[in-house]
Subunit: 210 residues, 2 copies
Amino acid sequence: MPPLNRTRIVAAAIDLIEREGADAVSMRRIAADLEVGVMSLYNHVPNKSALLDAVSEAILSEVEFTDDPAAHWTGRVRMQARAFRQIAHTHPRSTMVVVSRQLKSAAGMLPVERALSTLREAGFGEREAVQIFRVFIAYVIGSLLREVGVTPTFAPVHGAIRASDVDPELFPEIGALAPHLSACDHEAEFDFGLDLMIEAIAGRLAQRTR
Amino acid sequence: MPPLNRTRIVAAAIDLIEREGADAVSMRRIAADLEVGVMSLYNHVPNKSALLDAVSEAILSEVEFTDDPAAHWTGRVRMQARAFRQIAHTHPRSTMVVVSRQLKSAAGMLPVERALSTLREAGFGEREAVQIFRVFIAYVIGSLLREVGVTPTFAPVHGAIRASDVDPELFPEIGALAPHLSACDHEAEFDFGLDLMIEAIAGRLAQRTR
DNA sequence: TGTCGAGACGTACAGCGTACGTACGGGAGG
DNA sequence: CCTCCCGTACGTACGCTGTACGTCTCGACA
């Protein structure tokens, strides 16, 4: 057994979250998984909150933000957004943890830097680039929240809406659209909105240079 | 002192969240605020999770979803999104609670019904309406999360990014745009993205009926 | 060999959600 | 009127949480 260190603790935490959900995370539980006393963890991590920050940072830093500066900016934006969405695939039950802690570390700032430089190179102004960046962040995070099911206990929310549950008198549209509401191809839905937004900001850019 | 009932409990919970943040909510604390034994709460609420659902529902049901069916659909969509954002103003520290529990009750379904019927009346197809609805939901929720500061302890995140904190070698864009990143007029940012997205889907509609 | 520091660990405390048992008070039935 | 019953209020208790504090062990170095 290798000696206890921060990396092993973070790995155990991520493993625990993916196996049993974020609710199951406790210092005692992690220590038990590592076959170690609870307080030994505190030699490497100041407290639970910092541990979750470290979890978030570890997951964020293994996202592949490959960027081709030669490509058209619309493609680059699309790739960056999709890369972020990878988190929902690689660490579904940790997604909520990553999204709910904004990091000031390098791991958290790198995606921001990439996105902003892409937008600036595309020709957007300073304020505009920040605004557009914020719109994308909001959309991506909102999409991830829906995808992983914001309820932390079970990862995939299935059959959230059944046609038989809704009163068609009160909610005719929900009743009529129930088949579409209950089924959700997350990747297709994400790309739909992503293309919509890229199209919109491309329109703004074209309109301005016109 | 009126007798204990579900309404008073929910009101006390909301009050507590707004005063001290969602972390401060505990059954013991609520009971103390109501000058009541802890277990008395369980005569009116099955458990803490259900109480938080009730909190979410109460807040959601007091949002003013006034809708003018005669207005242009773009305006109606804008109004509905803005109405949802009201939550961040009326109950800032409860926003995270509302957003993080999807409700199957009438209070949770009404906004969905309204939005879907608006989109259908605008001329969008069944699948398209659901897709667009999901895009807006993602954007609105993502925006609210940023606005209330996803960290639940303190409501307004101030000075999250300081220019002096970032290494301009590693993060030149963040350094250059720090003034724009640190300041944030939430209402303006929200409307910016909202208009962007409405413009985009209006474009789709025009393109199809062309 | 004596000393020292770092890391592992046990104990303890305050707080949590809530299962369970009890006590009380008012309305219904005899 | 008396009795019964049931809903409500409440106290206690259990197992869990994060973590402050003190202790112990062990390898490195003078």
